[in-house]
């Protein structure tokens, strides 16, 4: 089974360990990995500038993990060259500079769309994976509003 392409997807309260996740999606045939991580911003300048003390993430866990699997399946459908995929969302109370989400895709070579695959993964996660965050700052607390309405079949 060593050549089965690994797919990791999870909602976790633990720290996101990039070294460990990368190792788990690296095969003997792998030569390139594109990884995206998102972190809690303490200071936001774009749009309504504000400060953040922490974010409180919650998730509808079993559905979120199923939708992460769906995102991975969509990636494989679009980029058949992708070998390993890891999609991890951390939840709970997360402070500035903390990585909150990771999408990583591996492939034999870097010019195979592996960067686009990772980019697609984070964009899709933010559309269909049921996770929400409440922002807590000097001015009080507020749920961050998403704006994507899934279509039938998504």
């Amino acid at each position: 089974m060593t050549d089965t392409f690994p797919t990791i997807y999870s909602i976790t309260e633990d720290e996101i360990d990039l070294n460990d996740l990368l190792a788990k999606i690296t095969l003997t045939s792998t030569g390139a990995a594109a990884i995206f991580t998102g972190m809690v911003r303490g200071i936001t300048s774009r749009g309504a500038a504000h400060e953040t003390e922490y974010l409180e993430y919650e998730s509808y866990v079993p559905m979120a993990e199923a939708k992460m699997k769906q995102v991975a399946d969509e990636i494989r459908e679009k980029w058949a060259v992708v070998e390993g995929i890891a999609i991890v969302q951390r939840i709970g109370k997360l402070y500035p500079k903390t990585p909150t989400v990771l999408i990583a895709c591996t492939a034999a070579h870097r010019d195979t769309g592996v960067f686009d695959a990772a980019r697609y993964g984070i964009d899709r996660l933010k559309e269909i994976v049921p996770v929400w965050k409440k922002e807590v700052g000097p001015g009080g607390q507020e749920w961050v509003e998403g704006d994507y309405i899934p279509k039938p079949g998504e």
């Binding site: 969302q89 049921p130 996770v131 929400w132 998403g146 309405i149 899934p150 039938p152 998504e154």
Partner: protein
Amino acid sequence: MNHIKLLFFATIRDRVGMKSLELDIPTDLTILQLKEKIGVDYPNLKESMKSVLITINREYAFDEAVIPLNAEIALFPPVSGG
């Protein structure tokens, strides 16, 4: 009758003040009818029902869908993870 479980998340949970609820609904009730019922039973949620996302057994569901037996229904705002 159909015994279903409702789950509430994020703003919806805050407004209704609970995480989940089990209730009996008529068989063949649609999502649209369920939203109307919730708006009546929980006036705090009436406004939210206009933009709420709804899932049946962990798949996105839409107004015309008929609620299956013993469904797990979740109600939540558009997602904002990452």
